[in-house]
């Protein structure tokens, strides 16, 4: 019961802010440790791939970015929906904070995917790769959310209207994913190497999982960092903020 109550108390901005202050450094440090360890494992310890040689090592930055991008969109839509339905301001603040981070990681997934593609397919961009096209559309969904928010002046309205866009987007994500997959199987030539088929052994997989966790924790840190700023701004007329400033001044 205590845990539930603590969780509920997080929805209150002052509680959240103080909790975030304390949690932040732990997230930052552990994410860096995980990422460095995973990357070391991926670059040094993992054996070269049978087909792609050392080129496959890009997987250790491409896949975690793609994963975080997708996670980010789900978190965005979920937070926006919670904010819309239950009118929790903090939830909208979460959505605002997630959007730019999600867009960055999706962009990174696209870029690393394209770089990976060059030696494997011979070209930087391959329209026939379902994953790249899907990532591109996901990036547009993030950008659409951010543009819509920016276009609406009233913050409450912006929160709620963009929440609807995010909800519609998230329903579309599996549809878009399926349709692009289906479309790409029709157009895939025989020369296109399937990127996800380096027969992945355990010593290749473990570093990948470590980097994925590291990226996820890093994502959490970034969002919480932005969230602190967002909450401060939204709550600037509240007393707890003045108290906080007084504390900091000491």
């Amino acid at each position: 019961m205590g845990l539930v109550r603590w969780f509920h108390s997080l929805a209150s901005p002052p509680h959240f802010y103080r909790f975030a202050r304390r949690l932040s450094p732990w997230l930052a440090v552990s994410s860096v440790v995980l990422i460095v360890a995973g990357v070391f494992g991926g670059l040094v310890l993992a054996p070269p791939d049978y087909l792609q040689g050392d080129g496959f090592r890009i997987i250790y930055v491409h896949v975690p970015s793609a994963y975080v991008g997708m996670l980010a969109y789900v978190v965005l839509a979920g937070a926006a929906a919670i904010g819309f339905v239950w009118r929790i301001k903090l939830a909208h603040a979460v959505a605002v904070s997630v959007a730019p981070v999600g867009a960055s990681f999706t962009f990174l997934a696209l870029v690393t995917g394209a770089i990976w593609g060059k030696p494997m397919w011979g070209t930087y961009w391959e329209w026939a790769d379902a994953r790249l096209v899907f990532e591109l559309l996901l990036l547009f969904l993030f950008l659409g959310y951010m543009v819509l928010r920016a276009a609406i002046e009233d913050r409450d309205k912006a929160d709620r209207v963009s929440a609807i866009l995010a909800a519609v987007g998230v329903i579309n994500v599996p549809i878009i994913h399926y349709s692009v997959e289906w479309w790409s199987t029709l157009h895939q030539g025989p020369t296109i190497a399937r990127l996800d088929s380096p027969a992945i052994t355990l010593d290749m997989l473990v570093p990948l999982l470590i980097v994925i966790v590291g990226f996820t924790v890093y994502f959490a840190w970034l969002v919480i960092c932005r969230l602190q700023g967002e909450v401060l701004e939204r709550e600037r007329t509240a007393r707890w903020v003045q108290q906080l400033l007084a504390e900091r001044a000491e």
Binding site: L137, G144, I152, K157, V161, I164, W183, L186
Partner: protein, 221 residues
């Protein structure tokens, strides 16, 4: 049901009075489709290979344009607020308005498309599928465009960003529609993509108006 028919008839009447607004998306459709050969090449082989794509993209963009002012006119003269206050579900009203717009912009598209298709050297046998696929796809496109209009109803000059918001969501429609047409051009069975288009239309028509209504209520505050 009465409300639905009432709004439908009202919007149709208004649309016919403003025939300029009616004609614009259709002219736009023809112009966009015609620009592709100018940008690429007028050779028969090229056109036959890519004509399907040109048609579908032109249809997509024209649908977006057609529903741009769906709510703006009502918003400006104050009738939007009256509609929102009425006891009838706003989603139903939105559905009626969207249907009215589809009747005046989507259906003429179905008439024009075959002519453009023939100009791109697409075989006559493919035309029924093209029209059928467009008939299934344009309602979905109309709903998505309506959603874009509803989301930007409180944004000054909102029309500009509707495309950015809505076009990524139309990708599946484009994929299945163009695929159906391509299959027909090659004389193969088109049932798969057509079923998928129908499924998307059902999904869009059932959930879309609800999202539009929610967005309108927020925008009107």
């Amino acid at each position: 049901m009465d409300v639905f028919l009432l709004i439908l008839r009202r919007d149709l009447k208004i649309a016919f009075r403003r025939w300029g607004e009616l004609a614009t998306p259709l002219i736009f459709f023809v112009i966009v489709a015609s620009l592709f050969p100018l940008a690429l090449s007028p050779e028969e082989a090229q056109l036959r290979a890519s004509g399907t794509g040109f048609l579908w993209i032109a249809a997509l963009l024209s649908s977006l344009l057609a529903l741009d002012g769906l709510f703006r006119n009502d918003l400006q003269d104050g009738s939007m607020e009256q509609l929102a206050l009425s006891p009838a579900p706003l989603a139903l009203i939105v559905l009626a308005k969207t249907l009215a717009h589809w009747l005046v912009s989507g259906v003429p598209l179905l008439v024009l498309a075959p002519f453009l298709a023939l100009s791109f050297y697409l075989p006559v046998e493919a035309l029924p599928t093209l029209v059928g696929a467009l008939a299934l796809a344009t309602p979905t496109l109309s709903v998505l465009a309506a959603l874009g209009a509803a989301l930007t109803v409180s944004v000054r000059g909102g029309g500009a960003i509707i495309g950015l918001l809505v076009l990524p969501l139309t990708a599946p429609v484009l994929i299945f529609g163009a695929r159906a047409t391509d299959l027909a051009v090659h004389g193969e069975s088109t049932l798969g993509p057509l079923y998928l288009l129908a499924a998307l239309a059902v999904l869009a028509l059932s959930l879309g108006p609800l999202a539009c209504a929610a967005a309108l209520r927020v925008g009107l505050e």
